[in-house]
């Protein structure tokens, strides 16, 4: 079943996803008293990288080459299932939230494999951290989605978010919904390699998690990785915004507008978090992520009790 709203929201996602890191950067610049980079800088960088050649070390195998491609493809497929603010996505079937969660997992597996394939010890360290932290973030995300599924009694993302409207938030399920949203916010920050889990600006290999894994990629491969990161932020952000901003007017333009406004606000919020918080020590990160899982479990118990 192809819904026209799905096509529109997909096109919007593909076009506007790189705006999110741009908004985050401008927010951080505002806090730091700088002017900040131009709004379209992420697009320019993608354009620049696409016109460069890629350099491959002769010690790498085709695994290194497939990493960015599979990563980007997984995000593109995941985008087909994700509804923005209650609008119907392109494809939807019962249980598709598991597919989306594990598409993120698939992308991660290939990114990590590519990082290990280079044989660099730094990239191995980054890969190890990425896998460790995402293993802790995954239960938080899945349990939060399970909470939403239990709350709405539906099993596909489209139906789940169509049921979660302002009425649900005002009824007895409000606390559970907010707890699930808090857990998803933590997952959003952790999975997108933002402070307080990872610092996207750092270039000291010892402290990096995500950035260190992609050090050896260049040219179009790096562009694919960066674009996939933007899409991942859009996917996780859409899930979060659909919970927190339950505008379900039924008018496609109003709903999509509210969703995109929500994503913009989410990017601003992320920028504020990055400006006012320091990165957690690495040993504290697992505790932070487990706390998110615990919030999800509490929410789930509140719903199914």
């Amino acid at each position: 079943m192809v819904a026209p709203s799905g096509l529109i929201s997909l096109a919007l996602a593909l076009a506007l996803a790189p705006m999110m890191p741009s908004i985050i950067n401008r927010t951080k610049a505002l806090f730091a008293g700088r002017h900040g980079q131009p709004w379209l800088q992420p697009y320019r960088e993608l354009w620049k990288l696409l016109h460069k050649g890629a350099v491959y070390s002769h010690t790498t195998t085709p695994v290194f080459f497939t990493g960015p491609i599979v990563g980007c493809a997984a995000m593109l497929v995941g985008l087909l299932f994700v509804p923005l603010a209650g609008t119907h996505p392109l494809i939807s079937f019962p249980g598709d939230f598991l597919l989306v969660a594990y598409l993120l997992g698939l992308a991660r597996f290939f990114t990590v494999s590519a990082a290990l394939d280079t044989g660099s010890s730094f990239e191995g360290m980054g890969a190890s951290r990425e896998v460790f932290f995402s293993a802790l973030a995954e239960p938080a995300l899945l349990l939060a989605l399970a909470t939403l599924a239990a709350l709405s009694g539906q099993l596909s993302l489209a139906d789940i978010f169509a049921r979660i409207d302002a009425g649900v938030l005002a009824s007895g399920a409000g606390p559970a919904l907010l707890l699930a949203a808090a857990a998803m916010m933590v997952v959003f920050l952790a999975e997108n390699a933002r402070i307080p889990v990872d610092d996207p600006n750092t270039h000291l290999e010892l402290t990096m998690i995500h950035e260190v894994m992609v050090l050896d990629h260049s040219g179009p491969d790096l562009a694919a990785i960066q674009y996939a990161a933007c899409l991942k932020m859009w996917i996780l952000g859409s899930l979060l915004v659909s919970v927190l901003l339950p505008v379900r007017s039924g008018w496609l333009l109003a709903d999509l507008g509210a969703g995109i406004l929500g994503l913009g606000l989410l990017a601003v919020a992320t920028g504020v978090v990055e400006s006012v918080m320091a990165r957690l020590r690495l040993v504290r990160v697992p505790q932070f992520l487990i706390a998110a899982s615990i919030l999800s479990i509490v929410a789930l118990v509140l719903v199914v009790r």
Binding site: A170, S171, G172, G174, P175, L178, L179, P286, Q287, I290, A291, I294, L295, I297, V298, V301, L302, R305
Partner: protein, 214 residues
């Protein structure tokens, strides 16, 4: 108003988890103070909008004692005996949090089987009360310093207070005043005890106290 009551109860639960997961003594005292403030809101929200003068007075007095006086006493005790700000748990923070989740499961299970027959009662009240009590117990047995055990005791008492609202909602003054007096005396005595312990033995670590002979 039941929505706000539920939100307060959930916050109450989260402060218990905060107590379990926090590694700083000052943060724990802050959490217990927040818990006390939230407790004061429960009677007001569950009776809203017809709040009698007596009910309001009980709520305000309990809020002042639990959120201002007791934390101040605890802070004074901490300052006077110069304990370190680290909590030093016997059970790690992550394990404590996971145990806390297990306790939450147990609490909801018990609450589901407990025949509480009070009309208009929030379905969250009893599980949260049991959970707060269990977390207090867990803190008492799993933390090393006497100050943390007092905090655990306070958490335990807070849970009993919530439980009191489930049953004694008609006649709260008697029960609550009794409970408040109880806690007050307990913290007072514990404060003095901690003070004397540290003066006599240079430490308030219960492990070290256990190994003292004669």
């Amino acid at each position: 108003m039941s929505n706000w009551l539920d939100a307060v109860l959930v916050l109450l639960m989260l402060t218990s988890l905060w107590l379990l997961g926090s590694s700083r003594l000052q943060a724990c005292i802050r959490a217990v103070a927040l818990q006390g403030a939230l407790l004061g809101l429960i009677p007001l929200l569950s009776k809203w909008p017809d709040i009698s003068l007596r009910l309001g007075a009980v709520a305000v007095v309990s809020m002042v004692i639990k959120a201002v006086v007791l934390p101040a006493l605890l802070r004074r005790a901490v300052r006077e005996v110069n304990v370190r700000n680290e909590v030093e748990p016997l059970v790690g923070f992550t394990t404590s949090l996971l145990l806390g989740i297990a306790l939450w499961g147990i609490a909801t299970h018990i609450a589901g089987r407990l025949p509480v027959d009070v009309p208009g009662l929030s379905p969250l009240l009893v599980p949260v009360a049991i959970f707060t009590v269990l977390c207090g117990f867990l803190l008492i047995v799993s933390r090393n310093t006497a100050v943390m055990q007092v905090i655990g005791y306070l958490g335990l008492e807070n849970g009993i207070y919530v439980f009191g609202w489930a049953f004694a909602i008609e006649e709260p003054l008697l029960v609550e005043m009794g409970v408040l007096l109880d806690v007050f005396v307990a913290v007072f005595v514990m404060g003095i005890t901690i003070h004397h312990l540290s003066r006599e033995f240079d430490s308030i670590e219960t492990d070290e106290l256990a190994s003292l002979k004669d």
